[in-house]
Amino acid sequence: MTRAALLLLADGRFPAGGHAHSGGAEAAVRAGLITDAASLEEFCRGRLHTSGLVAASLAAAAALGVDPGDLDAAADARTPSPALRAAARRLGRQLLRAARATWPCAGLDLLARRFPKGAHQPVVLGAVAQAAGLEPLDAAYCAAYESVGGPATATVRLLGLDPFDATGVLARLAPATDRVADRAVRAAREALDTGVDALPAASAPLLEISAEVHAARTGRLFAT
């Protein structure tokens, strides 16, 4: 195993479709909720502790070997917005494509056969981390970081926010990201013993509602 694979997987340039998504930031910008670095930080903090935590737990559980079908159903149950469910599966499919070309192996081929239209992205992320020789904690870090990295990058494009301010936000969120990743792995281990109900179900209703509004909107820059 090589830890360096984590850098590859967590890199925003990994070609898995993420660049077309803002993680709810575009909707929040439109609603006047993100206007500067401070409000971006609050938005990201909320996201990290809700959908970020859930995604990190799903990813860690998948990397631990919890059944991806169970995890995909658990992800559905934790994602009320149909638009977000569809986007998560699309991103899962795109990630799987990129990962199968990057780390070819039977496990990922099997996953692609089982979910031809994609499984939830964090579930795929966990399986990919495993295929790349990474640990469940690495998968959790990846998912947690992604949950805030995407909105930060998108906000730079949407608001013309100073890119240094945006990276500062991510740096200040680092300690919280550590805690979320740890918590996610503990929950994933519990899920391995007792089933997927042990995974956190923290939700941010506003993210779900605004995702639906965003999906119905014409003239958007990002898919979600």
Partner: protein, 230 residues
């Protein structure tokens, strides 16, 4: 024969992750994929529409558009009814149209695969870029050849300025020649500059407002298709 499998539509096994593979899992040659890039407003969608009208009776066609922030191009093609709606897909590009055709092609590859599954087997897929600056080109993992469309109204110095689109595209189309007298563009100079930049690579000057329309581009597409199948 194109084998249909109840689960993944790709015969046995999962679909290949790479878009570049030239054959479908059943051994047949997949559709030829042509990219159309170039600045906003140069006539990419109009060229796609004209190509569809010209080729749809002889080929099984589909179109993928990469709109920047709307479904405008896809909707134009639907309104013009150049193809049945199930043969036209719009990909969203997240404020970065060149990323979706070059650095991270996954959404476009997925759109092509879904079209093949839904209405295939296809002979030809046209992928229109959202329109970008002169440096935007398609990845070879996504398209087999690319057409770069500029117009005479964008300034007759564009061929001289060059850039990867102008210099390396498999076909350079200089569109809207009908407007040249009104905008004072010197077509001879554009042709000479293009030749200097591109060497032996072909250049077509066209006006979609005139009789010949898209004929020469369509002929070029037929040639590419014949070479692809050979």
């Amino acid at each position: 024969m194109h084998l249909h499998h109840p689960h993944d539509g790709h015969g046995h096994g999962a679909p290949a992750p790479s878009g570049a593979a030239a054959r479908r899992p059943d051994g047949t040659r997949r559709a030829l994929r042509l990219g159309l890039g170039g600045p906003v407003g140069s006539g990419k969608t109009a060229t796609v529409a004209a190509l569809c009208r010209e080729l749809r009776s002889e080929l099984s066609l589909a179109v993928v558009t990469n709109d920047i922030y709307t479904r405008e191009d896809a909707e134009f093609l639907l309104r013009e009814a150049v193809l049945p709606p199930e043969r036209i897909t719009a990909v969203e590009t997240g404020a970065c149209p060149h990323t979706a055709i070059r650095d991270d092609i996954s959404a476009n590859l997925e759109a092509v695969e879904d079209l093949e599954d839904a209405v295939g087997p296809l002979d030809l897929v046209l992928l229109e870029s959202g329109g970008d600056n002169l440096t935007a080109t398609f990845s070879r993992g996504l398209v087999d050849a690319q057409i770069f469309v500029i117009d005479v109204a964008g300034g007759d110095d564009i061929p001289r300025k060059g850039g990867p689109g102008v210099t390396t595209a498999d076909l350079l189309v200089v569109n809207k020649t009908d407007l040249a007298p009104y905008v004072g563009s010197d077509l001879d100079r554009m042709a000479a500059d293009a030749k200097a930049q591109r060497g032996h690579l072909p250049v077509v000057f066209q006006s979609l407002r005139e009789e010949a329309g898209v004929d020469r581009v369509a002929a070029w597409v037929r040639e590419r298709l014949a070479a692809w199948r050979a």
